[in-house]
Symmetry: C2
Subunit: 371 residues, 2 copies
């Protein structure tokens, strides 16, 4: 943790110590509104993914704008959001191990908790802990709709697991998790459309078999920021899990045609300062790969396309400058992270700005909640 | 932060909740001893880089084994180590901005503090704050000895900066920072030898000019785990900044021939659990890129070379299994991170094990100290 604060409410932007993770509240609020508008009057609800922000202040605003609750990727994150008063949390992951199952049961006493399964053994373990701890859990079957990561194949395997869940009185069969992660980052709209069409078909086929077995499929949930309009319009999905729409990272924006019906804008930035300019044609920033995750490539410099962030080491970022351009020591830039989720996870606070002032600091309370 | 602890002292390994960052104390202590032995009787001293571990418990052990103090990459890290009682800290970076300079002065009241410069403007700002706050600072000239990141060119530019430092009564000219970061990760020993020979020559040339100007160059400091034997034997360097030797990541080990005079061993691991095995030939771990940094490539599975960690998403790691191998839900593996430094920065605690028991939890107190 930083031994001092990067900023205080009321500070001008120039007083923000760097590197700092900056949230542009106006842009963020416009993104919230765009998503609400996109789902208004549709037969799909929003359960945004909180792994993107890990921030209770943001989750509360999402719920206030109509979200039914949040998704988490880790049980440790779920604990943070339940503590913060979020009443309905879906852990979009398998929860394995005695310690975690007991924590899950404890959380299920205080909020509606859902988890995924893709193995009968997980169903059995969940049923045991739910019964012994006298709690009820929502259990979703994760279906592999193309991501080839977790999830049973669509169809009979999914129906079989659904039946096993439904047969346990302490478990509620919640529906199908049909998230196609790989589709989010496909470069062309046509590829994304094809991938989600196939995912919707796989989901529909699974649902048909489960309904033929006499069970109701209350929820088909999935989608991310890269594809959510496709899931919305599929006629199959009825819950959207997009998370990054509030921030928009470089990678998502690279894929988004300006002609899209809903265009989100960058709201999350790493503010960084030039600390060296000893090599001509270059400037070195104080934000490296511990300040902006490079797993999806380098950040870009906001509104300064002529400045190229070309290399990151732990705590240095190298900018290449065009001929004739020079930066001064102490000059600041705003970086758009290549990938928001792991970048947020590097910070303890969001420095929230509005216009040219710091308005608030919001704790990233689930930062590092890996368990 | 995790809402519960991954383990408690006395626990068997099987009780460690995952993902957890595990330090094998026996291997760690052997690595400490190997470095002490490698520098024993040599005209070089050790100032290990604390950006690798960010952990006061480790810094204290390094000092107890003969280190003169530590390096930090950020002033925020330095504050953590000064608070923990480390008496001599070199920030191997430029410190720019009024807020940071005041914090630097405050730290310099409580410990010996060094910083780098590669610009006359930085010297001027340091002199101003040192004088106004009545403190003395060690100031090193950073020389670009081949890394092309920060640092003035070797020779006249370095000598000029040294003179400017020496002319300010509140600044002590500490010597030359000659770290060749890019050389650490060159794949062949011959390439590394060539790079460090050139770096040593650049350092020597700069020193000669500074001495001709009547100044003493007390220290030529640099080196990392990938090259430190070369700097040790250069006859030019008299301080070694290696940090990763205590842990050894996959990338450093990939470059280290078993025939090296000093061979460090892996001591840092991400313990991870199989949470899904729904796709044949694969298993999915609970450790993704928020549990093990992928900037230098994927982690490897310790002592299970047949298991290939092929893909990381935020909180999933995909293992490819050879035909005929299957893993069970709840099986655990130890991963060797591709790059230790940013991986350590993802955790709040080291779970320290000895043999088959957890011995201690050590706070990673400077985790996230980005300022």
């Amino acid at each position: 943790m930083n031994p001092w604060k990067a900023a205080a409410p009321g500070d001008p932007l120039s007083a923000i110590d760097t590197p700092a993770l900056v949230l542009d509240l106006d842009a963020f609020e416009r993104n919230l509104q765009r998503m609400a508008d996109a789902l208004k009057g549709q037969a799909v609800r929003l359960r945004p993914h909180a792994k993107s922000h890990k921030c209770p202040e943001i989750a509360r605003r999402q719920v206030a704008m109509g979200a039914v609750g949040v998704c988490c990727q880790k049980l440790g994150e779920a604990a943070v959001f339940v503590d913060a008063g979020i009443a309905d949390v879906l852990v979009t992951n398998q929860v394995v191990g005695a310690s975690k199952l007991l924590h899950l049961a404890e959380l299920a006493r205080r909020a509606r908790l859902g988890v995924l399964v893709d193995d009968a053994e997980q169903v059995h373990a969940l049923a045991l802990v739910a019964r012994s701890q006298s709690v009820t859990l929502d259990v979703y079957v994760e279906v592999d709709v193309g991501g080839h990561r977790c999830g049973v194949p669509p169809g009979a395997a999914a129906a079989q697991l659904a039946r096993q869940i439904a047969d346990h009185p302490a478990l509620r069969f919640g529906g199908l998790q049909c998230y196609h992660g790989a589709a989010q980052h496909k470069r062309s709209p046509a590829e994304r459309a094809q991938a989600i069409a196939a995912a919707a078909q796989a989901a529909q086929h699974s649902r048909a078999l489960i309904e033929a077995d006499g069970l109701q499929v209350a929820r088909i949930t999935g989608a991310g920021t890269g594809t959510f309009l496709l899931e919305r319009d599929s006629g199959v999905f009825n819950e959207i899990q997009a998370g990054s729409y509030i921030f928009m990272d470089r990678d998502y924006r690279d894929n988004q045609p300006a002609s899209d019906a809903v265009v989100f804008e960058h709201a999350l930035f790493v503010r960084s300062t030039v600390m060296s300019r000893a090599v001509p044609g270059r400037a070195v920033l104080d934000a490296g790969l511990k300040a902006s995750s490079v797993d999806s490539g380098m950040p870009v410099v906001w509104q300064r396309p002529e400045l190229k962030y070309v290399a990151a080491s732990d705590e240095h970022g190298v900018l290449e400058l065009p001929v004739g351009t020079s930066l001064s020591l102490g000059d600041t830039v705003m970086l758009v992270p290549g990938h928001c989720d792991p970048t947020v996870n590097l910070y303890d606070e969001l420095v929230c700005i509005r216009g040219d002032r710091v308005e608030a600091l919001w704790p990233i309370a689930a930062r590092g909640a890996l368990l």
